[in-house]
């Protein structure tokens, strides 16, 4: 066996991750060497490493370079799902980086560490979504959690930022302990931490007789506490409005996209992978969670007066819709999972776009309350129109990305004949129209005597345009986005062996 070649090819296969790790360390060292905290080299280097990793993520698409699905030491899965989440999280990190450069000036002195952590948190999301082993899943999960606690509490002089970090930490510690207990049950039942091996044990019809089978259901319930916490599903969502409100807004932006993606990726891998045999049981449980999430998220959002809190509850409700895709997934064709991924992608553009608008407004006026948005159409027409399109996308109205996502999710639900779930989804969507369009009403129809025009910094405008184009393009010309996601039938491969090289 020629081990040297093995190394090289394995390193090539996980190039984006290596690049991100190296980037985090380099930025940290460069920050120490630079005297100036606002030096443009810091975000520049960070962006360079992210772009490099993003380009490297497309290597498997090059013919001839195609990396066949497999795992690295049974820990790191390399399949369509991993590639999708690589591109997904790197895109969102790049957008968040652009926001950070504007937002962070004057708010903190530790800018270099922030950029370094941004690279590390990106890495952790990729690791979590590629993890193919319970131990790896837990480690990546903790990596992600610890980095996000620190980033939420970044503004050390701000009481609310501290409070947010504390709440996030306490909820996170408990939920990850419960999740770990669930994982230990799975290991106890099957004697393996590898997802494919666990699935093989449960697929054996003898496990029904021994009684191990039901242990898988218990483990699913316990692990859902951890996954639900990351995604902010309803019984585990209490941290999210406080954390979203108190955290620096770029961090909130990332929190609403990155960890959610990681949570769904792990759910897809663990539930459809390891617990594929118990599909009926966990789908029933998730269907209840989805209904609860949509109802509570949307109803609570009605009463919000702060924009960041509104978006927090809205993102809780959106997680409920995304979860519906998983509930309705049929393992034979995986259309439900594809709907989840499409919805996540639509949500990425829409939500980051909305947060850009919020950051721009916060930078210009220092306020995040909805009432202060009145008359925005006269103060900054482009900005207001963009927000309308983002709200329509969250609602799922064409021609926006959200429509495509909702269309596929509801299609999967109807196909699975879960009519009650579909009706609840529709009804709560109608409810959400009230609070989304209420902001539009405030922006358009409530007068303001002093019509000072608002000016946005250049990076914010750039991100706004990118997300706007993404939101519209995904509905008008969805082919490249669907190509990125790949064929639904081979989205999640049962990965037993190692990579063939």
């Amino acid at each position: 066996m020629n081990t040297n070649v093995d190394w090289l090819q394995r390193s090539l296969a996980i190039g984006p991750e290596l690049l991100l790790m190296l980037g985090g360390l380099v930025v940290l060292l460069v920050d120490m060497w630079l005297a100036d905290d606002d030096h443009p080299l810091l975000p520049g280097l960070t962006g360079l490493f992210m772009v490099g990793a993003l380009i490297w993520s497309f290597v498997p698409f090059i013919p001839g370079m195609g990396i066949t699905p497999g795992t690295i030491y049974g820990m790191f899965a390399l399949d369509n799902l991993t590639i999708f989440f690589r591109v997904f999280v790197l895109t969102s990190s790049l957008l968040v980086l652009a926001l950070t450069t504007v937002y962070i000036k004057g708010r903190t002195e530790q800018t270099g560490e922030f950029y370094s952590l941004l690279l590390f948190i990106t890495l952790s999301v990729i690791l979590a979504s590629a993890a193919n082993n319970l131990i790896m899943i837990y480690l990546a999960f903790e990596f992600l959690s610890l980095t996000s606690y620190i980033m939420v509490g970044w503004l050390r002089d701000d009481v609310r930022s501290n409070e947010a970090a504390m709440k996030y930490l306490l909820y996170g510690a408990i939920s990850s302990a419960v999740m770990l207990y669930g994982m230990s049950l799975l290991y106890g039942a099957t004697g393996s931490t590898n997802i494919a091996e666990i699935a093989a044990v449960f697929a054996n019809p003898r496990t029904e007789i021994v009684g191990i089978f039901n242990l898988g259901i218990t483990a699913a319930v316990l692990m859902m506490v951890g996954f639900g916490f990351k995604v902010a599903l309803v019984p585990f969502h209490q941290w999210s409005p406080d954390a979203y409100e108190g955290a620096p807004t770029p961090v909130t932006t990332f929190l609403s996209v990155g960890p959610k993606a990681a949570g769904f990726a792990i759910m897809i891998r663990v539930l459809t992978g390891a617990l594929g045999a118990q599909t009926e049981s966990w789908q029933a449980m998730l269907s209840a969670v989805a209904i609860l999430t949509m109802v509570v998220g949307n109803l609570t959002a009605l009463a919000q007066t702060d924009m960041k809190r509104l978006l927090a509850y809205s993102s809780i409700a959106q997680a409920g819709y995304i979860l519906m895709g998983l509930v309705a997934n049929n393992p034979a064709d995986n259309f439900g999972i594809r709907a989840v991924l499409v919805y996540l992608l639509a949500y990425l553009f829409t939500n980051i776009g909305l947060f850009v608008s919020v950051i721009g407004f916060e930078q210009a006026t220092g306020s995040t309350t909805i009432d202060d948005y009145r008359g925005l159409i006269r103060r900054s027409p482009f900005h207001a129109m963009a927000m309308v399109i983002f709200f329509l996308s969250l609602l799922g109205i064409p021609p926006t990305a959200g429509f495509l996502g909702k269309f596929l999710v509801f299609g999967a639900v109807i196909n699975a004949e879960l009519y009650f779930l579909a009706v609840v989804g529709m009804l709560t969507s109608v409810i959400s129209a009230y609070y989304y369009l209420n902001v539009v009403r405030v922006m358009f129809f409530q007068g303001d005597e002093e019509d000072r025009p608002l000016r946005f910094a250049f990076p914010l405008q750039a991100v706004l345009v990118i997300t706007l184009v993404g939101t519209l393009l995904m509905n008008l010309y969805p082919t490249p986005f669907l190509n990125l996601i790949g064929e639904p039938t081979n989205l999640v491969t049962q990965l037993f062996g190692q990579l063939p090289f």
């Binding site: 081990t3 190394w7 790790m21 360390l25 940290l28 060292l29 120490m32």
Partner: protein
């Protein structure tokens, strides 16, 4: 017979037994409270001072840093034991690991976390 009946019986019996033991102890045992018994146990010594003291936060910083580099050493021992089996691969892996920790070390040094004042 439903197999769950056995579990129900076990539940009842164990709860009942626990209750009986606690109740018997409370009813039959001698009850003689005094102030000494309420004091926190300090290995038989008379407790000195308050438990809620203010400590300089530097202790925590040093403790955290110590743990990080302590674990580094712990990782080195098993690696050294199977070094021959791992071969050149293990050497490179450990070099990467130590390099990352070295960056951390330089970082805390430069940030002045090792200075006491």
């Amino acid at each position: 017979m439903n197999p769950y009946i056995a579990i129900g019986l076990l539940l009842l019996l164990s709860t009942g037994l626990a209750l009986i033991i606690v109740l018997l102890g409370a009813v039959l045992g001698p009850n003689n409270p005094n102030e000494r018994k309420l004091e926190p146990y300090e290995s038989g010594m008379v407790p000195v001072g308050e438990a809620m003291q203010r400590l300089p936060i530097r202790f925590y910083l040093i403790a955290t840093l110590f743990i990080v580099f302590d674990i580094e050493v712990i990782f080195l021992f098993p690696w050294a034991l199977i070094f021959r089996k791992l071969g050149i691969f293990g050497l490179v892996e450990m070099a990467v690991f130590l390099l990352i920790l070295l960056v951390g070390y330089i970082y805390i040094w430069q940030k002045g976390a090792l200075e006491w004042d």
